[in-house]
Amino acid sequence: TQLLEQSPQFLSIQEGENLTVYCNSSSVFSSLQWYRQEPGEGPVLLVTVVTGGEVKKLKRLTFQFGDARKDSSLHITAAQPGDTGLYLCAGAFMDTGRRALTFGSGTRLQVQP
């Protein structure tokens, strides 16, 4: 069973601070996605990374995919209260060809004004 570990589980920071969330596995991903979920809603896709070493930016969010495609990180610069939510990474594992995504347990971010 492939596992996808996400850390930290909880993060409470002040507005303006920077933070990084990590997503790791012992298996190789064919692709990896980051989602953000707010209470009472389904996850919303933020980004998909496919190529090892890839870096993508979405405003103040920077996503990196590890060279070996086994890990990824999400960095938020100058966090805002609107960034509050549950951040989920989800991967499609290369060796199974399984179409369903395997999700991490999530990082719950609280940004205090």
């Binding site: 692709s31 389904g42 996850p43 999530g106």
Partner: protein, 114 residues
């Protein structure tokens, strides 16, 4: 519709009763997924439909769970003889099932079994 829709948004039922949850995927999306999310946690895969292929049922936790997809569009997840541990948010997602599988989620159905 513009996005994935699910109904009902909330369902409260008594232990032992059967429930049906509905999902309308994005028009044109050939793949449909059901996931389950316990309070504040990640998502647990349940079942996957792709076109006319046999569904991938490998995530269903017991034989009390079943799902069907009629006409390649709407899907219904049925839970028979509900148990308290079935309480969770049930999420549906759809995708175009390309090589890079980007999934789009509905708002979920919150199921509470008393």
């Amino acid at each position: 519709g513009a996005g994935v829709s699910q109904s009902p948004s909330n369902k409260v039922t008594e232990k032992g009763k059967d429930v049906e949850l509905r999902c309308d995927p994005i028009s044109g999306h050939t793949a449909l997924y059901w996931y389950r999310q316990s309070l504040g946690q990640g998502l647990e895969f349940l079942i996957y439909f792709q076109g006319n292929s046999a569904p991938d049922k490998s995530g269903l936790p017991s034989d009390r769970f079943s799902a069907e997809r009629t006409g390649g569009s709407v899907s219904t997840l049925t839970i028979q003889r509900t148990q308290q541990e079935d309480s969770a948010v049930y999420l549906c997602a759809s995708s175009q099932d390309r090589v890079v599988n980007e999934q789009f989620f509905g708002p979920g159905t919150r199921l509470t079994v008393l």
